[in-house]
């Protein structure tokens, strides 16, 4: 039987404007080709040019309203560096508390509202009737924690707009954002990050309210993770382990600072990176090859061979401030200009997203396609041996007792996320759920450090700074969806260049310079077609499950910056 082609646009239940083209071999019942493309452009980095570097903290959050906070954090760290404005310890901890709050909300949103419905009764009964029959008979092993007796009950609870889990998740997601608004003024788009710390008047009751809200998330984690373990194990048992599989090439920038290590100086970045609770790192073919943030940053490349931009010429910066060589494809050097082209021209340019890659510049110069996301950062942290939680094979941590009306599991609970055998659709979803528990754990740890500071009277949240005239900065953090970095070059106190590579940029990009597939594309190729009658009508449910397992945030990955010369051309366009 011949191949069947499918174009899905828009892919719904994700952030942004996105389409996917895939080819299915209906004899082998596998997808054999895929093109991932983004269909919206706004021109963020052009808009940023010649503004105050600090304005980027507010402007870049508005790239994405689902995950605004990590943009603020990456931006403020880049601006801290370029302004030479290290914050006091309480300022660093408050930033992390907002980060934790956003991750708590975003994990719930991702698992229940964006991806969860793909495994809901409404979808499964139609697209995978044999799963549904089995789910009705299968007891949920962790029902003592979450209360659902069978897998089918879980699936029904995930139905959008009506399911009990879907509806309940709205409240929990809102609670996470409320925690961010408590310290950030609002969410989406927190208002309190400034170079040198935070702009908020901290009182002990803020921390008291934060912990009261955090305790609900701690309690919810004890239902949420067992529930997703049951769901994920069931789907895998239906033979879904090949769905979305791609090589173990992973990237993390790390998260949650040690307030005594973060100095906002580039030369100290390796050190503060290693002290983050979530470890930075690059994994290639399952092996952790570096944990050094400076090495990771210097190795980043961005290609536009299949994106609606024209190539740039010579590099402006040949070395970073430590004397490491900078390639012309490095974000501090990149010069990009948009050139809108026709849609779906697979041989040429077909996406507004670019193709970020990582070069192992210190060793063999090989260029790798890396995947960002909760699975990558948990994996890298588990391998790192960083802190007592990392066992080398897993991450093990305990959430304390939290007794709250409406949450059935009060007792202390130990979680263990084990490095899975494969990087695939279901393990990405599972890792996202586990990151909810880890975020609660990390937030609690940062909060306890903040209360210690209050006891010592160290409540200063902001340091004055004297802005230099020129400089470069980089801020590298983990957004919910993975590695996010902002690079800034300041000249005459204004933004000369501002560049952003987002996690969905890493994941959703089109083919690279050598025709190698982007991570979504790699993950779709080889994915089995499980629909009952694809010959009559191919719905593409397996494709959208793969794509959504990455939790795409497409507004994030589309933006660009240009050099001075190019702005004039923009005016002409």
């Amino acid at each position: 039987m011949a191949n069947k082609e499918i174009v899905i646009e828009p892919v719904t239940r994700l952030e942004g404007h996105y389409g996917i083209h895939a080819d299915a071999d209906l004899t082998a019942k596998r997808y054999v080709d895929a093109h991932s493309y983004v269909t919206m452009f706004r021109g963020w980095e052009i808009i940023l040019k010649r503004r105050e570097p600090a304005d980027a903290i507010w402007i870049t959050q508005r790239i994405c309203g689902v995950c605004p906070y990590p943009h603020a954090l990456a931006s403020v760290e880049a601006v801290d560096m370029v302004y030479n404005a290290p914050p006091p310890p309480m300022g660093i901890l408050l930033r992390d508390l907002m980060h934790g709050a956003e991750q708590l909300y975003d994990a719930v949103l991702g698992c229940f509202v964006l991806e969860g419905p793909d495994y809901s009764q409404q979808i499964v009964e139609k697209s995978n009737p044999e799963w549904w029959e089995e789910a009705k008979k299968t007891k949920a092993p962790n029902s003592e924690f979450h209360g659902y007796q069978t897998i089918a009950e879980i699936m029904t609870a995930l139905n959008p707009l009506t399911g009990s889990l879907w509806l309940r998740s709205l409240g929990l997601a809102k609670l996470g954002r409320k925690m961010a608004a408590l310290l950030g003024g609002k969410h989406p788009h927190v208002n309190t990050l400034v170079p040198g710390g935070v702009a908020m008047t901290l009182t002990p009751s803020d921390l008291e309210q934060y912990i009261a809200m955090l305790s609900q998330h701690i309690a919810f984690s004890k239902e949420f993770i067992p529930l997703f373990d049951d769901l994920c194990d069931f789907i895998l048992s239906m033979g879904y382990e090949d769905s979305g599989e791609r090589p173990m090439n992973l990237l993390s920038y790390g998260a949650y600072e040690d307030p005594s290590a973060y100095t906002a100086k580039y030369e100290d970045m390796t050190n503060w990176g290693l002290k983050r609770k979530i470890s930075p790192g690059v994994v290639v073919k399952g092996e952790l090859i570096t944990r050094d943030l400076v090495e990771i940053s210097v190795g980043v490349r961005e290609f536009v061979n299949h994106s609606y931009y024209t190539e740039w010429t010579s590099p402006e910066l040949e070395e970073d401030p430590l004397g490491n060589p900078l390639a012309s494809e490095h974000p501090w050097n990149k010069e990009t200009q948009p050139e809108p082209g026709p849609p779906r021209d697979w041989k040429s340019k077909y996406s507004w997203a670019t193709s970020p890659r990582w070069q192992h510049w210190k060793k063999n110069g090989e260029i790798h396609v890396l995947e960002a996301g909760p699975i990558s950062r948990l994996w890298i942290t588990a391998l790192s041996g960083n802190g007592s939680e990392s066992t080398g094979k897993s991450l093990r941590f305990t959430l304390p007792r939290a007794t709250i009306v409406g949450y059935p599991v009060a007792d202390e609970f130990t979680f263990e996320w084990k490095i899975p055998e494969k990087v695939n659709t279901i393990e990405r979803v599972r890792a996202r759920a586990y990151y909810h528990a880890y975020s609660a754990y990390a937030s609690l740890s940062q909060l306890l450090q903040a209360t210690e500071l209050i006891k010592k009277g160290q409540t200063k949240v902001w340091n004055k700074y004297k802005k230099p005239k020129h400089g470069v900065g980089v801020g590298m953090v983990e957004a919910m969806r993975g590695a996010l970095a902002h690079w800034v070059v300041m000249k005459k106190k204004k933004i000369h260049k501002y560049q952003i590579i987002t996690p969905s940029g890493w994941n959703a990009g089109p083919r690279g310079p050598n025709g190698e597939l982007g991570p979504y594309e790699e993950a779709i190729v080889g994915t089995p077609v499980t629909e009952p009658s694809p010959e009559e009508e191919l719905l593409g449910v397996d494709v959208v499950r793969v794509v959504r397992s990455f939790d795409p945030c497409l507004a994030c990955c589309v933006h660009l910056y240009t050099g001075d010369k190019n702005v004039r051309q923009i005016d002409i366009i």
């Binding site: 174009v7 899905i8 646009e9 828009p10 892919v11 719904t12 239940r13 994700l14 952030e15 404007h17 269909t39 919206m40 452009f41 706004r42 021109g43 052009i46 808009i47 503004r51 600090a54 304005d55 507010w58 402007i59 508005r62 994405c64 309203g65 605004p68 964006l114 809901s120 979808i123 959008p160 707009l161 709205l170 997601a173 809102k174 954002r177 409320k178 608004a181 408590l182 950030g184 003024g185 609002k186 969410h187 989406p188 788009h189 208002n191 400034v194 702009a199 908020m200 008047t201 948009p338 809108p340 082209g341 026709p342 849609p343 409540t459 902001w462 004055k464 702005v567 923009i570 366009i573």
Partner: protein
């Protein structure tokens, strides 16, 4: 009672207004969808890319039905700015797509054109959809506009209603939920349509500035200013644009009363205003224009003298 159909379109946006909408409490998103009380029942969210179950063709089919007038009465909520596709066409491309019809991609602006012909009400959710927001920030590389300028300030819907703007970056969830509930009740003649100001904002929400609504305004009047972030006084010297931005978030808070930009101690950046993110709102940490403070101080002195005089006068009430 006829159902009211809601189509939520996303253009050059960030989905922040959608996320913020789910922050609403009275009514909440779930309340609006279930119909919390009889006159507000029967609101159907036919299309919302971020939360709907179907994808691809099945999803786009809903928009086609709306364009053909099958969803009536139709409320169109727009999130995100609308780019000028003519500049992208010069190199054979596009800035923003919204699905396809018979294999041909459809641009977002075309989608807005067609749906606005059938809409009973067009609501701009957030500053991008209202006035262009950050995409239209200098130098506006994609020619982005808000609905108000895109459709024209004199545009009226099939029911004779102008564009209703609910600005904010993102929109305040409660503002939007209240306006949508209000609109539904207005269509059913339970409430009058909200009065709009010259920027098409509902007056009852946007009458006062962030400064007038700020819990620190009393400290300002008393001459107490913060000189460093973290201090509990007025942030006028640290870049606050509250005096020139219309917003009630400082009074209302942001989520269930929690937050509020100036409330917690951060400077207002003027995100509800048509000029945002350009001057006079940015640079965000630069002080607001002095003229306002001079006028305000004159008003303040007049007000204080009046207050003193009325206290000296014999009590008359």
């Amino acid at each position: 009672m006829t159902n009211i159909h809601v189509v939520w379109l996303q253009g050059q946006g960030c989905t922040g207004c959608t996320v913020s909408f789910t922050n609403a409490t009275h009514p909440s998103l779930a309340d609006l969808l279930t119909g919390f009380i009889a006159p507000a029942e029967g609101v159907i969210l036919d299309f919302h890319q971020t939360i709907m179950l179907p994808w691809g063709e099945q999803a786009i089919q809903v928009l086609d039905e709306a364009q053909e007038g099958q969803l009536d009465p139709l409320v169109v909520v727009v999130e995100g700015a609308i780019p000028d596709e003519s500049t992208a066409r010069e190199t054979g491309g596009f800035w923003c797509l919204s699905g396809e019809k018979d294999g041909e991609p459809i641009t977002f602006s075309e989608r807005v054109d067609r749906l606005s012909e059938k809409a009973a009400l067009m609501v701009a959710a957030g500053t991008c959809a209202s006035y262009g927001g950050i995409p239209h920030g200098r130098p506006n590389p994609t020619g982005a506009k808000g609905l108000l300028d895109y459709l024209g300030r004199n545009w009226k819907s099939a029911l004779g209603i102008p564009v209703v703007c609910v600005p904010g970056c993102p929109v305040h969830g409660e503002h939007l939920a209240e306006i949508l509930a209000h609109a539904v009740l207005a269509v059913r003649e339970v409430l009058p349509l909200p009065e709009l100001d010259k920027e098409h904002r509902p007056v009852h929400i946007f009458r006062h500035t962030a400064h007038e609504n700020c819990p620190r305004a009393g400290l300002f009047a008393d001459g107490k200013n913060s000189h460093e972030f973290g201090e509990p006084n007025c942030m006028g010297l640290l870049g606050c644009k509250g005096p020139i931005a219309h917003c009630d978030a400082p009074k209302r808070g942001f989520i269930e009363g929690v937050g509020g930009c100036t409330t917690v101690g951060s400077p207002c950046i003027g995100c509800t205003e048509p000029e945002f993110p350009d001057r006079p709102y940015s640079p965000f940490l630069a002080k607001a224009p002095a003229s306002f403070f001079i006028v305000e101080k004159i008003h303040g002195i007049g007000g204080s003298l009046g207050a003193v005089w009325s206290r000296i006068k014999r009590r008359k009430i």
